[in-house]
Symmetry: C2
Subunit: 343 residues, 2 copies
């Protein structure tokens, strides 16, 4: 039995999560799902972001399925730092996994890239770097104000995520890992990343490697996304690069992600990359594919690769059958995906 | 008379700079150019990166025209920190200006974007942020290693570059400034940027403004680059975003940049965004357009807007006349551009 905590969240979160659960239930018997009310709505109602008691309850689950949290009415940082990042850090989710495929049937924005040609995964570090929350400010609101943000990187943190990237490349066909950083400017952190990468690479002589500066990688993701297999990078670079990768493969409406603690010491968390999209919330027109693909990542992490494969196949069929210009209905897409995944 | 210091540099640097000088000489009488030998070649020969005496000499010029420096044989950071960034910081070049236009005749990678539709300029902060060089490491080469990089942001530094962005928007047709940061994670620096932006915006009620997180901006630069006019952002975000902007407008072969000290207290520096491209160096096939467009930025900065306009018109004609698949010759392009610019 899989014990899943569900955080549907705000905006389109509940709509897309409902479809992901539908699909999960279709392919996996005995899912026990518990709903947790977190996000902008709860914050507005109670002032609470993530009570310790809820954090403790969440930690007893096998995985967390999250829709989307946030709302323009919540000050920046409150839910990000207090909820999303808090979970990533508290549950030591050091692998932020973001696959990007240009699925057949999906018209990406790039004229020269054909469906099927792009199939990459970004292994983004999830617990260090500029996300550590090490910053401050002095003389606020005066002409003398100074504000700092510090990127913290440890050999421990860098090595484990690089190891994960190589392990993933080992299971893939093309067997290539690209390290992305900015070693020519961020010389201290860059050197740690580069030396650690080289050390781990030496243990994998059969895996091809390359290094790119983040600005070059951002460019090549637009001009030659086909060249990537596994990309490993730091927290902030990964944030930016995965949105570019999503953009060139049809948009964040299709992009899934997992915040993973590979050892399973804590629950991993799976969520679509898109936000709560308040502009289309409640209309039943949000695309649930990203949430459903996130559920497939969840299945893989919990040791159900066949169920995951069936969900991915259902998504492939769904996307291949879409007719441009026809507005989709969230529910109907969920029904089709669930039906296809069990067939 | 304009006194220009020329740093041709490595690889294709000298080839493209020769064309930029040809064009400069054609449109501006009395350019006095002095060559400075800096870059990978000098470092290999002498171990010197930027001697103080050269820095002092450079400071006596009206502007610096730079080709490209660097070579895979030089360790990362040596020329970047020791030469390029040293100049940006020593000469207080706080406006790193990077225009991107999809010129008629240029086939960009985006299927749904037509030439002429993209015309944006990124005003990247050039003297602060993660480029300040405030970082270090401890327990190097042990399992306990920790490496830090610190982003330093001052009200002084943030305000002056935001003011410059608004001043530029004021001179443009669409009159819109987009602030890009990551206020939801980098809450201290993000708040400083956002508050300063709002304060300056309040002085310009006739200029439209918007805010985007850097990940969203990276995505929108791919899906809707038409939406941007002036973008103002921090040093590292600007580094990444300008490479995306270059990619969607035909590549860094066409991308110009200026590292500008707007007050003229120090010389400003103009350089193509591309690197030294050792793979094609010496073959006479590098595209000099980025270097020539950088020379146009130089002309504007030195108070010669008409000469700059003539260079831009020459580039427009050149690009519109290009036949796909025909290999260009660096020299010939330079000749055509110079001839067109005086005609
Ligand atoms: C919401 C924000 C904190 C988050 C991040 O920056 O990691 C988001 O952009 C993401 O990529 O998951
Ligand atoms: C070479 C490097 C230091 C530089 C930067 O990061 O600013 C380059 O990428 C650029 O954009 O001019």
């Amino acid at each position: 039995m899989a014990r899943i905590a569900v955080v549907a969240g705000d905006g389109i979160g509940p709509e897309v999560v409902a479809q992901a659960r539908k699909v999960l239930d279709a392919v996996l018997p005995n899912v026990e799902a518990t709903e947790y009310d977190l996000g902008a709505a709860r914050w507005h109602r109670t002032g609470e972001v993530l009570p310790d008691s809820v954090l403790a309850e969440l930690s007893g689950h096998d995985a967390i399925l999250l829709g989307a949290v946030g709302d323009p009415t919540v000050p920046p940082g409150v839910l990000e730092r207090g909820l999303l990042l808090k979970l990533r850090f508290a549950f030591d989710q050091y692998v932020n996994l973001r696959p990007s495929r240009l699925w057949p049937g999906v018209a990406g924005p790039l004229g020269n890239v054909k469906p099927g040609e792009v199939d990459l995964v970004v292994v983004r570090e999830g617990t260090e770097g500029l996300y550590a929350g090490a910053g401050g400010s002095l003389h606020r609101d005066t002409p003398a104000e100074v504000a700092t943000e510090e990127s913290l990187n440890t050999r421990h943190g860098v090595e484990r995520v690089i190891r994960d990237a190589f392990a993933r490349a080992d299971r893939r066909e093309r067997r290539k890992v690209t390290l992305v950083h900015k070693t020519n400017v961020l010389t201290h952190a860059g050197s740690l990343w580069a030396r650690t990468f080289d050390a781990v690479a030496a243990e994998h002589p059969d895996i091809a490697t390359e290094y790119q500066h983040v600005d070059a990688a951002a460019m090549f993701l637009v001009t030659q996304p086909q060249r990537y297999d596994v990309v490993v990078t730091d927290n902030l670079f990964g944030d930016i690069l995965t949105d570019i990768a999503a953009a060139v493969t049809g948009g964040i409406g299709l992009a899934a992600s997992g915040c993973i603690n590979p050892e399973g010491a804590y629950p991993s968390m799976f969520e679509p990359v898109h936000g709560s999209a308040p502009d289309i919330a409640g209309q039943g027109i949000a695309d649930p594919v990203a949430a459903v693909l996130s559920a497939a990542l969840l299945l893989e992490q919990l040791g159900h690769p066949e169920a995951a494969a069936r969900v991915n196949a259902a998504v492939a069929a769904e996307l291949a059958s879409r007719v441009p210009g026809v507005t989709l209905r969230t529910e109907e897409v969920g029904d089709r995906l669930a039906a296809h995944a069990v067939a």
